[in-house]
Each structure stands twice: as C-alpha cells, then as structure tokens.
C-alpha cells in the first residue's frame, strides 16, 4: 500500500453489522456504517438511544454482541482499548482525581513514551483557555473547566479517530459556540476523524459533515445536515431535526413526476423523488417556514401551489425575527407556520380565517407508521 493511500484511509471507521445487547435488551441494533477519514461525523438522538454504547464499542470499552469495528481498514474488534488509535472524551469527563490538570492532559503522551510533554501540554491547555490552571486538581475546577480538560486530554494525542460523547454539554452558550468553532478548526487543521455524539441538533447541524440520526438503537437516516433537514425519510427524523407538519394523504395518481393526492378533500402534489414511501398511503411533511399564510379575504389564486382553505388561527406568538402561528385545519389538525417579519398583516390574529399555501417541491413524503392506528383515529 502506498504512503498516500494509507494516509487517506487511516482514519476510516467501518462498523459492520455491529450490535450490542445487555441480556435480552438489544440497545444497538445491527448497524452498518462508514465514517470517512477526516470527516466530522455527528451522532444525534434522544437520550438512551444507544449513542454512548456505539462509541464505547468503537473505543473498545464495550464488547460488541455481533459485528466488527474496522479502523483504517484494520479489524480492531479484538483489540483492547489501549491498542486502538482512538481517544475518547467521556460524557462524565473521568478525569484522574489524583493528578494535576497538566498531568491529566499529559497522561496519553507519557504512555506513548514521550518525554518532552511540557510544551504540547501548555499549548493544549492554552487552546482550551485553561493555561493558568495547569497546577490545579480536577476537583478544584468548575464543571465546564473539567469538560475542557477532558477534551484537551484526548485531543493532545492526535488519534486517528476522536470520539466525543457530548463534550460540550456543561458549557454555557457562549463558551459552547466558541468551543464548537475551536473543535471544528482543530478537526479541519489536523484532519482527525471526529465522531461527535450530541443531543443538540443545532450543534450537529453547524459542525458536522455527516449526521447519523439514531432512534431506539437504529440509525434512521444518514446524510449531510441540509439533506437531513430538507428530505427527512422518517417521522422521527422529521421531528427531531427542526419541526415538521405531517399530513395524512391518499394517493390518487401521478402526473409529470408528481404524486397527486387527496388531503382531507383537497388536491395536492408532491415530487415522486422526494417520497420515501410506496403504496397509496403517504404522509406528507412540510416545514413550518415553507408555508405562506394569508388572510382569507386577501388570498388570490395560488397557481399550482398546494393550498388549504378554511384554516383558523388559534395562536400566534411573536419571536422577533419571525412570528409563529398555530392554525386549525377544517379537519381539526393544527399546523404550525413560521412567517418572517417583513410585512406583517395585522389581520393575522387569533380567530382570523386564513389560507395556507406552499410550493409542492418543498414537501416530502414519508411512509405512514407501520401501525396506522393513529391515522385511522384522525380520519
């Protein structure tokens, strides 16, 4: 293998059929995943969905029930953690209480036999803005400071893969943004593969090249932030990343690359290639900011836009850059609409009759839940 090839592939992480069960409880379903070398990969998901467990299997701290972990093409499934070219920023920091902050950060370098650790440690501490606290013990630091020590302790080793388990959870918003930029900068500069677990969808969207959305031990969707936001493929993704309005529909036909459908008596269209479902039942999703809202009396004919008449505003809240409306549909479903505050129509107050319309190309189609009980109740 040539030098270049090896360098290119050295930080690849491949999960092959990887799963984990505790007793009879499977917390990570068999997963196949490729994380390209040098990418910033975010894992997003609700609490308890198996994010930490997945990271621990990559780090070697948890033995997979099935499957393999490959790093840079090499199967490391059988390797103990200390032999893997991987470092972790632990969710609970796990700093060594008997060592000073500087010694905590130097720990990995010393194990690799480096003698001249003072320079790099100082640099690293400066990077996380803790240059003046190197002599303290971890117990004498605030939560956020401890978290930054944990980041520094892992980052200083320049591993091929850095696993970050909610590394910024304890920081205030300002410091969080700053650390996000810092991490992103380091990642681009050093070219380390980052696998970043987070609850915070905004963090995932702003930092990651690729996001994996996990739910109940399954990666539901994988893609770029824009991809996931514009074309979610499951209800969970549609609602976990931003908000979505979901409408139950019945397909009536196709025409010129569009699905034609009936939504509670209204005809609508949806591009076929934006639909992740087959069959005659499709759930149409539309983001609140993609919907235009007009007072019923001002509404003109909207060409071939999807349009719903007969809505009534039940709530409006002014958020500054935009106004959020809740509109009740004739079939009693409530739809959320975000309207930019450019030319505010003062008739748009609770109780006002309105018309909603949007570009059909902005909708996305999802499969109905396997158990269609909820749809049946609504209909």
């Amino acid at each position: 293998m040539s030098e270049q090839q090896r360098a290119g592939a050295s930080g690849d992480v491949n999960l092959v059929g990887l799963s984990k069960s505790f007793g009879s409880n499977t917390v990570v379903q068999p997963t196949d995943l490729t994380i390209p070398a040098g990418s910033f990969f975010a894992v997003l998901g609700a609490s308890g969905c198996g994010k930490t467990t997945t990271l621990r299997m990559i780090a070697g701290l948890e033995e997979p029930t099935t499957g393999q972990v490959l790093i840079g093409g090499q199967d490391v499934t059988g390797l103990p953690p200390y032999k893997r070219p991987v470092n972790t920023v632990f969710q609970n920091y796990a700093l060594f209480p008997h060592l000073s902050v500087a010694e905590n950060v130097a720990f990995g370098l010393r194990r690799k036999g480096r003698k001249d650790v003072d320079g790099p440690v100082k640099e690293m501490l400066e990077l996380v803005e803790l240059g003046h606290l190197g002599g303290r013990k971890p117990a004498q630091l605030s939560g956020g400071q401890q978290q930054r020590v944990a980041v520094a302790r892992a980052l200083i080793n320049h591993p091929q893969v850095l696993l970050l388990d909610e590394p910024l959870g304890a920081l205030d918003l300002k410091l969080r943004r700053q650390m996000q930029l810092e991490l992103k900068r380091i990642q681009t500069e050093v070219g380390i593969t980052f696998v970043h677990v987070t609850h915070d969808q905004e963090e995932a969207m702003t930092m990651a090249d690729t996001i994996a959305v996990m739910n109940g031990g399954v990666v539901e969707q994988l893609g770029s932030p824009a991809d996931l936001y514009e074309s979610p493929r499951t209800k969970f993704v549609a609602n976990f990343l931003g908000q979505s309005n979901l409408l139950d529909t019945r397909i009536t036909g196709t025409s010129g690359g569009y699905l034609l459908m009936d939504v509670h008596g209204t005809r609508m269209a949806l591009p076929v290639d934006r639909t992740a479902a087959q069959g005659d039942q499709v759930v149409m999703g539309i983001r609140p900011e993609k919907i235009a809202i007009q007072h019923a009396s001002a509404a003109d004919s909207n060409g071939n836009r999807n349009r719903i008449d007969g809505g009534v505003i039940v709530d409006s809240s002014f958020i500054g850059v935009s106004t959020q409306y809740t509109v009740r549909m004739p079939w009693a479903q409530e739809i959320t609409v975000f309207e930019q505050n450019m030319e505010r129509d003062h008739r748009l107050v609770p109780g006002a009759p309105v018309v909603l319309h949007w570009n059909p190309d902005h909708g996305f189609g999802l499969a109905p839940e396997p158990a269609t009980a909820s749809a049946a109740v609504k209909a």
Binding site: L61, Y82, V86, F90, F96, H98, R153, A154
Partner: protein, 309 residues
C-alpha cells in the same frame, strides 16, 4: 471549617437573625465532644500521668516506692532492653509488609472482582474475630508444630533452609522462631490491613480505569498510575493500623516464640507482673509509646497526610 464560620457571619452583615444561629449552636460541639473527652481523661490521661509518676519512682517491694525524679530508669531500661525494642519494630515491620503483600491482592479482588459476593468475602475477612485472640494464636501453635504437616512440607521444599540462613528459623523447627512470631502477627492483624485497603479501592470509579485504558495505558500501567496512587490512603491507614498494635503486641511472641524472640511487650509484661519492678515497666511503656509516635509521624509526613484526613 473554623475559617469559614466567621466569614459566614460577616457575610450576613449586621442583620440580627443572621447572627443568631451560630450563637445558639455554640455549645453543641462541646456537648458532642464531652463523652469522648471524659472517657479520654479518665482512661487515658489520668493513667498516663500515674504511669509517668511511677516511672520516676525508686525503691523496692518491701520498702515501698518513693517519687524521686529518677530519670535514669529510662536510660537503664533502654540500655538493657534495646534488643527487644529492635525486635518489636523489626517483627512488626515484617508483619506489616506481609499483611500488605497478602492483603492488597485480597482487597483488590474483593473490590473489583468479587461482584455480588463482596459482602460474603468481607465477612470471611472479619470472621476470625468471632473467636478469641488467644485461641487463634494457640491454633497456630498446632499449625506450626514440629513434625506437623506444614513444617514437613516446608522442610521438604527446603524453605526452612532458606529462612534458617536469614536467621528466621532454627534447624527444622518453625515454632519458637522469629518466623513463627511474624506469622502469628501477620495472621492476627491482616483484617486491619484488608479493611482500609478495601475501603479505598472500592471508592475508585471504574470509569477511571476505562479512561486510562483509552489513553494507551495497559492494565499494568493503569494499576501503577491510577489504581495504586488512588489506593494510597488505604495503604497508609492499613500499615498504621497494623504496625502500631503489632509493635506493642506480646501474645504472639509469648506463645509462638522463645525467650530469644521477646518483644517490648513481653518485657513490659514481665516487669509488671513477674518482677514487679513497676518503675522500669512504666518507663518501658513510655519509651515504646514515644518510639511509635516518632516513627508514625515520620511515616505520615513522608506519605503525605493530605489524603489521610
């Protein structure tokens, strides 16, 4: 703590109801201390003063004793009995090391490997205490008896040849040798080593081991750099709890040893109860106490008190 109290009061400014609570509670610490203080005064301070007085008396059993500030008793006692003192501390140190060597792996296994059997193992460690100290020590007389299985095996393995070279045994015997005394001390004080060790090992967060593993430390290095340093408070208190009572012990030397293995405790016992030379016995007690205090404080200073408190 003391430094905090005034700050708290000062922070309250001039408001009366903020100043009130500390005033009301001021007598509470003393009340809580009182039983312990009374106990110490009656059973420690007074006897010690009486002993101190006795050690400075001269006279005999028939004529009676008289207080004469006779400090040279101390010097004479030390000159006559320094071999016993050296032996005391030597045996105690050997037993402490043995306890550490046996106790550390035991405590480690209970803390990290025993899982749900932890409780049972701890009970087993303490179980010997359910029988009397004397009976247990006597049992060792049987265990180490000449021609007993243990000694036979040790002889066959030529173990006794090695210990004889080191001056710990004589001939084919183990009983009535320094080795027997050290074995008895080790056995009797082992729980005092294991329990503090266990307590400090059990407190270590297993996630720290994971973090060390993650940072390229193999299990051996993880032990050296993380587990052992974090268990040092247990090592320090365990060695103190073993060494201090072991160096004052006389039962093991009396039952398992010979006249040549007498420890300071044996001399004190003989002087008090057989020879009835009370001043010398009292002086010996004080010398023993003083030496232990000196050694322990040197040790604690070296080991760093920070973690102990």
């Amino acid at each position: 703590m003391n430094a905090l109290a005034p700050t708290g009061g000062g922070g309250g400014g001039g408001t009366d109801d903020l100043k009130e609570p500390p005033k009301r509670g001021r007598w509470v610490p003393y009340a809580l201390l009182a039983p312990g203080m009374i106990w110490l005064v009656v059973f420690f301070l007074i006897p010690m003063l009486v002993q101190g007085g006795t050690s400075l008396q001269t006279g005999g059993l028939e004529k009676g004793y008289e207080f004469t500030w006779h400090f040279s008793t101390y010097w004479d006692a030390l000159q006559t009995y320094y071999p016993q003192f050296l032996r005391s501390f030597g045996y105690a140190a050997a037993a402490t090391v043995m306890c550490l060597v046996i106790g550390y792996p035991l405590a480690y296994a209970i803390a990290f490997k025993a899982g749900k059997w932890r409780g049972l193992w701890l009970v087993l460690v303490i179980a010997p205490f359910f029988t009397s100290f004397l009976v247990r020590t006597l049992a060792w007389k049987t265990i180490l008896a000449d021609n007993g299985i243990v000694v036979d095996v040790l002889n066959t393995l030529h173990f006794t040849d090695v210990t004889a070279l080191l001056g710990l045994t004589e001939g084919d015997r183990v009983l009535a040798t320094p080795l027997a005394v050290i074995c008895g001390l080790t056995y009797n004080f082992l729980p005092f080593m294991v329990l503090p060790l266990y307590a400090s090992l059990e407190r270590i967060d297993p996630r720290l081991h994971e973090a060390a593993n993650d940072l390229y430390a193999d299990p051996k290095t993880t032990f050296r750099k993380v587990t052992f340093p974090l268990s040092l408070p247990g090592v320090v208190s365990g060695t103190l709890l073993t060494f201090i009572p072991a160096s004052g012990d006389y039962v093991n030397a009396a039952w398992l040893g010979s006249p040549d293995t007498g420890m300071a405790g044996n001399v004190i016992q003989t002087q008090f109860l057989r020879v009835l030379d009370y001043p010398t016995a009292a002086a010996l007690s004080f010398i023993l106490m003083l030496l232990i205090v000196l050694m322990v404080s040197a040790y604690i200073r070296k080991a760093g008190t920070e973690e102990l408190v």
